[in-house]
């Protein structure tokens, strides 16, 4: 998983407090249940203050689906929801654990 896509950030991006790895953000958004595109964008915005652009979102969706980490559900009218797969959950857990270790180590160094 890589962070290669530009994101349309919110107004507060100048403070550099945002996290923008679109595939990881999409996986994290789907972790608590299936969502369609708009719901994912709003959820990610609430979660970390990053507003994904439409192209970035679908780029991440395509790559995650290709890797088998998310799968499409039956369309609801014009909306196409996705859900995270078991593999996706495993990858998300591993990624977040690594990030947590990294965050802990980084913060400890800042406090020292």
């Amino acid at each position: 998983m890589r962070s290669t896509r530009n994101v349309a950030c919110g107004k507060d991006d100048a403070d550099m407090g945002h996290y923008s790895d679109p595939p990881l953000l999409v996986l994290a958004s789907l972790a608590n249940g299936p969502k369609h595109g708009h719901a994912m964008i709003e959820d990610i915005l609430r979660m970390c203050g990053t507003r994904l652009g439409p192209g970035t979102l679908y780029g991440a969706i395509a790559r995650l689906e290709q890797q088998g980490w998310i799968e499409p559900l039956r369309p609801e009218e014009r909306r196409h929801p996705y859900r995270i797969t078991a593999d996706g959950l495993r990858v998300l857990r591993a990624k977040l654990t690594t990030l947590q270790q990294f965050t802990k180590a980084g913060l400890k160094r800042l406090e020292a």
Binding site: N6, H38, G53, Y58, Q66, R78
Partner: protein
């Protein structure tokens, strides 16, 4: 978003991507409240998809395709292809010039006439378009080489070879025209690739080569900077 704009933006993506996500993405864009920023984001993502396509099932690239072969034989793609492409482009340019000479300047000894001289209106537009094409051809070839290099992630050295070769050919190319060289005076057009006989013409060729190189490298540098920036954020 305007349905027409949403459809146009969706059409920017590669065909295989559209077959899987096109209808869904278009519907998503139509209900999206994005303005210019969203449109730019889609254009950028479509370009990215062309360069680094999502591969899955029918979206998998054919391993025997022309592009795949370029990875196995980069010398052919970046050493020979620029010569072939530029040769074709210059042949078309010569044919275009010769046709214009016959149509608009049937009595003139040369098709290279000054603007404001004996050509006006349509003839002027015709020759200006030809000039634009002639000088733009090496830049377009350079961009095509960059696109292939970025897509296939070949070594930077091959890209450099391809671009330098293209710039060198573009800067040393000269078209010669003569009416007396051919029986019945139809007019004769030929091309040569020389640095020139005087020091000044050598400097001009080098300057021309550097200009072509700068213009071809610019989009690649912007792409790399944009990518580096998005990874850092």
């Amino acid at each position: 978003m305007n349905p027409m704009l949403a459809h146009l933006l969706m059409r920017l993506y590669p065909r295989l991507w559209r077959e899987r996500y096109g209808a869904e993405f278009e519907a998503f864009l139509q209900t999206n409240h994005g303005g210019l920023r969203a449109s730019v984001n889609v254009v950028w993502s479509a370009l990215y998809e062309h360069i680094f396509p999502t591969r899955r099932g029918t979206m998998e690239q054919d391993s025997h395709s022309f592009l795949s072969r370029s990875v196995r034989a980069p010398w052919a793609m970046f050493g020979v292809a620029p010569i072939i492409l530029l040769s074709i482009a210059y042949f078309v340019a010569c044919l275009y010039l010769w046709s214009g000479w016959r149509i608009f300047l049937p009595g003139a000894d040369t098709p290279f006439v000054r603007i404001g001289g004996p050509i006006f209106g349509l003839a002027n537009i015709y020759f200006q378009a030809g000039k634009f094409y002639y000088f733009g051809a090496p830049i377009l070839v350079g961009w095509a080489i960059e696109l292939i290099a970025a897509r296939q992630r070949v070594k930077f050295v091959w890209l450099t070879i391809g671009l330098v070769l293209t710039a060198w050919l573009g800067s040393t190319a000269h078209i010669h025209a003569s009416r007396t060289a051919v029986h019945r005076g139809l007019g004769h057009i030929s091309m040569g690739f020389t640095l020139g006989s005087s020091i000044q013409s050598v400097y001009e060729s080098i300057f021309h080569a550097l200009t072509i190189l700068s213009l071809t490298v610019l989009p690649y540098l912007i792409f790399r900077l944009q990518r580096a920036r998005s990874i850092c954020t």
